[in-house]
Structures are given as C-alpha cells and as structure tokens.
C-alpha cells in the first residue's frame, strides 16, 4: 500500500481533521480556482481502511462522468448538466476506496493548453498565481500541486495531462490507448483521447492505474492486456534544436540525461524525421473528430438550449453559438472543413496516412530502445494572456506531447525540480502496454527529485 495512502487515510478518518481539511481546501482554492465543485461526502471509514486506495481524496476533471455531480466540460452549453451515471474508470477507483471530492476546471471540452478557455472560471498555477496551470486538465493539476488532493484524474488528447503536470511540478500519466476504459469520458477526439492520472507520488499513481486498468464491456476499445516492462539499459533521447526550448527546460532536459547516465543507463541521441508532421497531422485529425463528436450538442434533449427560433436548424445553431466558446467554434469549423467533400483527401486522409508514417518511425525506434526521453513543453508555465504565447503558438508547442497520442503509446511526465521559481520536468514514452518501465524509471527519479510543494500548499500531515 503506498505510504501516501496511509498518510491521507490516517488523517481523514478523524472527523475533526475532515472538517479542517474541507475548510483549508476552500481557503486555498479561493486563490487557485482548481475546483468547479467540491464536497467530501460521509463514508464508512472502517471499511475504507481495508481498501488499497481507502480514504484517498480524488479530484476528477469535469469531462468525466460522476453520477449525481455536474458534468460541464468547462462549457456554457453543459453548465447545468448533471451526470446520470459514473465513468467506469472512476467507479473502479471508488470501489478501491478512493473518494471523489470534486470536479475540476478545464479548457472547454479539453481544447487548450492553458485553462484560459474554460467558460466557467479561472484557474491559476499554485507556483505563481499570475501564470497558467497548463491545460486542458489544468484544474486537476493545480489541485494536486496545491496539496488539496494527492491524486487526480484528467484526460489526455494531445498532452492535456502531461503538460499541466509539468507546469505544476507533479507526475502526469497518459496510459496506452485502451488500457483504461473511456466509458463516461466526454471525449472530443475519440481516437486520440485517454483518461490519465496526476499524482504527488509515483507509487500512488501506479496503484491507481492498476486499479483502473481493465477491459470494460461499455468501451469496445478497452483491453485487459498485461502491463509489462522490459529491463531498461538503453534510452533514446530526442535530439532537439537548442532554440526550440526555453533555458530552464533545456537545462532540465540535459540534467535528466546526465542523471540517467550516472545511474548506468546508456543514453543515445536520436532523431525523428516525422516530428515536423506531428502538429499538422494531430490537429487535422483531432479537429475532424471534434466536429463529429460535438455535433451531438444541440441543446434539445439536454444542455443549455435556445428559447425560441424560427426553424429547427436555427434552434440548434442558436444553442451552439451561445453555448460554445471561440476555441471550440474554431476547431469545429476546421474539423468540418477538412471533412468536406472535395477537401477530405487533401487534409483528413492525408493526415491519417501521415499518422501511419509517424507510428511506423516511432515503432522502429522503440524496438531498439525501451524508452524515449523527451521534453514535455518548450516553456515553463507561461503568464496568463501572454502575448508571446498566443493560441496558435500554444498549439505548435504541443509537438512533444501529441506524438504519444498519435501512436497510442503510454507516456509519463516526471518533475525535475524547481528552476527560477517554477517547476520543470521531462517525459518518457514507452512501447504499448510498457507502463511498468515508465513507473520504474520515475521511481528512480523520485529519489533525486521528490515532488515539491509551493508555499501555502495544504499539508495533510500537519492536520493529523
């Protein structure tokens, strides 16, 4: 059982500590804004003590269904929608004793890298309130980084778990596509998106993943394939043009390689010829799928609708135009465009063929190296409304994270300490179902770089 689980259980099983905990979460989150809703419900604490995640509070991104709680996806169109069922991944966590305490803020429908595209509130980075927590699962990352919960669930379509984890200085994990059921996830791009995890502790993350990993009759793309990991001796390190990375990110990247070499690994620089095609291919496919997946939101059976219109089509248009924000409209527009008759072969089919090319190159690489070391994002957490990091530049900066989504591979963002007052980190990518290699390497790093908390974070050990 992870020690972090014991720490939280032994604190929260005392009623007076639970009251203090809830009060402290509310105080801290007034500044950070990680939660859209927060409620610690009554539990049978005796029974929880026997469960592997008993008493561990968990935050859940608000695009994942938890019965009886709102499921807004950070959007006006679902602002008052309450989930009628619980996602399989969350149900499995709850069966293991984890306590869903709240739903977290996010970029609308998962579209964004800063949380600035949420229609329902602002989330700040706990390390610097003027900076973004990353996105799209920024609320979940901020909640863990601020110590409000030790574990949180997010979704990763092109880096939406790993990038905010990197910005907030915690672990961020994207599993192999299909290893965690997506039933109950409001995915915007079904072939790319997976449910992922944030944690302060790698053992806790591993336990949570083992709990969630299973075939699910409600998700035909889920599999119970054994999770493995080979003995890692040789690691590929993506050769990066130094100009691509901000100085602290480049320093962390070099430092990570240095530590690996000191620990006896052979680290060899490699190139990916197809890297330049990752962003155009990813955004073509993701937006095409978004335009199809979001077509269901018409405000008629559920969600915010239009009060009156002259014809049924306008009724739907009104609901969508009022309910969606700019980024969502842009992506639906682009997705519809690349699927249009006459343009489909040039854009969408081409992107799918390029995806094959990328997967092939990555497949060859990972046959020779059991792990690939890469940066997570070219910069540390950037300032809110940063003119140097507009929406277009943010999309281009997803280059290191989208790769694993296009190939369906597992990847883990690992913190590498604090540099110039902000967290830095790197990510590792493994072959499909090779999660154990990721956890093993992260355990080694955790001895050198344990997760640090920003000043003012909640310290559960002091509440006991």
């Amino acid at each position: 059982m992870p020690p972090v689980k014991q720490l939280w259980f032994s604190a929260l099983n005392k009623p007076h500590v639970r009251d203090k905990y809830v009060q402290r979460v509310r105080e801290i989150d007034k500044k950070i804004g990680s939660f859209l809703s927060f409620k610690l419900e009554e539990q049978d604490w005796t029974a929880l003590g026997r469960k592997p995640l008993g008493g561990v509070p968990v935050a859940v991104k608000d695009n994942i269904a938890v019965r009886g709680r709102k499921l807004t996806c950070g959007s006006r169109i679902l602002e008052n929608f309450v989930a009628p069922y619980t996602a399989t991944a969350i149900r499995r966590l709850e069966n293991a004793g984890a306590l869903v305490v709240g739903k977290t803020n996010m970029d609308e429908f998962g579209m964004g890298s800063s949380n600035e595209h949420s229609a329902l509130g602002r989330t700040s980075n706990p390390w610097d309130l003027q900076r973004v927590p990353g996105g799209s699962s920024g609320g979940s990352a901020a909640a863990v980084a601020a110590g409000l919960v030790p574990l949180a669930v997010g979704s990763d379509t092109g880096g939406s778990v790993r990038q905010p984890a990197n910005f907030c200085g915690i672990y961020g994990f994207k599993p192999t596509y299909g290893s965690i059921s997506r039933y109950g996830l409001t995915a915007y791009a079904s072939s790319l998106e997976v449910i992922g995890l944030f944690a302060v502790d790698i053992r806790l993350l591993e336990t949570a993943f083992e709990t969630m990993h299973a075939e699910d009759e409600f998700d035909q793309s889920s599999f119970s394939t054994n999770i493995s990991g080979s003995e890692v001796k040789k690691i590929a390190m993506l050769d990066i043009d130094p100009g691509m990375l901000e100085t602290p990110v480049a320093e962390a990247y070099t430092q990570a390689a240095q530590i690996l070499r000191e620990r006896g690994y052979v680290v060899e620089k490699v190139n990916l010829v197809t890297l330049k095609f990752v962003i155009p291919s990813y955004y073509t496919i993701a937006n095409a799928e978004a335009s199809a997946n979001l077509a269901r939101f018409d405000g008629i059976r559920y969600g915010s609708g239009s009060g009156y219109s002259q014809n049924p089509i306008n009724l739907i248009k009104e609901a969508r135009s009022r309910g969606f924000g700019d980024e969502v409209k842009l992506r639906i527009l682009l997705g519809t465009y690349v699927l249009r008759s006459g343009f489909k072969d040039q854009y969408y089919i081409k992107a799918q063929r390029v995806r094959t090319l990328i997967r092939k190159e990555l497949g060859v690489l990972l046959r020779n190296y059991p792990l690939l070391l890469m940066p997570v994002f070219p910069t540390q957490a950037f300032l809110r409304a940063d003119s140097e990091m507009d929406n277009y530049k943010q999309r281009l900066s997803d280059i290191f994270t989208c790769l694993a989504n296009l190939a369906g591979l597992p990847a883990l963002s690992v913190p590498i300490g604090i540099n110039r007052g902000l967290p830095t980190g790197v990510q590792f990518v493994a072959p499909a179902f090779g999660e154990k290699s990721l956890f093993d390497i992260a355990r080694g790093f955790s001895e050198v770089f344990p997760v640090q908390f920003p000043p003012g974070a909640l310290e559960i050990e002091r509440m006991r």
Partner: protein, 92 residues
C-alpha cells in the same frame, strides 16, 4: 481561400457566427489551414490511413438489446418535459 468557403463550412457545422467571430475565427482558421498544408511534403503514397490508436484487434459486443435502467435520470437532465416526453421550443 474565399471568406465564403468558411461561411459555407460554418453553415455545415451548424454554427451561427457573429461578425466579430467571423473576423477572429476565419483569420485563425486560415492560419491553421496553411499549417495543415505543410503535410504535403510527407511521402505517404503506399501507406494505409490510421483510423484508430488501438494496437490490439478490436472486439464487439453481442448485438442484443439491454434496456437502460435509469431512464428517469436522463429525463431529469432535459430542459423541459411534458409527461415523459422531451419538450422542445416551438418553431414556426
């Protein structure tokens, strides 16, 4: 590309864009479309399109009806009900 093409696309996407939105979004959409075109240099002639990330063969459920047990919760999510029917706004 013609501004009209984006207007047609918005129509197909069931989006009604204000003048301000048209100005902002069309500019950004054009920027992205040009980025997409950078894929043209990729040599993919003999490659099949990848349609899904699944690395293991897909499987399907038995084709049998299983009634959803909690219909009332779904009905509760509606904006307006008439008995057990969704009520949608009047249109002319």
């Amino acid at each position: 590309m013609e501004q009209d093409e984006w207007a047609v696309t918005a129509e197909l996407a069931a989006l009604k864009l204000s003048e301000g939105e048209k100005k902002r979004l069309v500019k950004q959409a054009e920027q992205m479309r040009k980025l997409y075109l950078s894929m043209s240099s990729a040599v993919v002639d003999n490659l099949e399109p990848t349609t899904h990330a699944s690395v293991v063969k897909n499987r399907v459920r038995k084709d049998e009806v299983k009634p959803f047990k909690d219909v009332d919760t779904l009905l509760d999510a509606s904006n307006e009900l008439d008995d057990r029917f969704f009520l949608i706004p009047n249109v002319l």
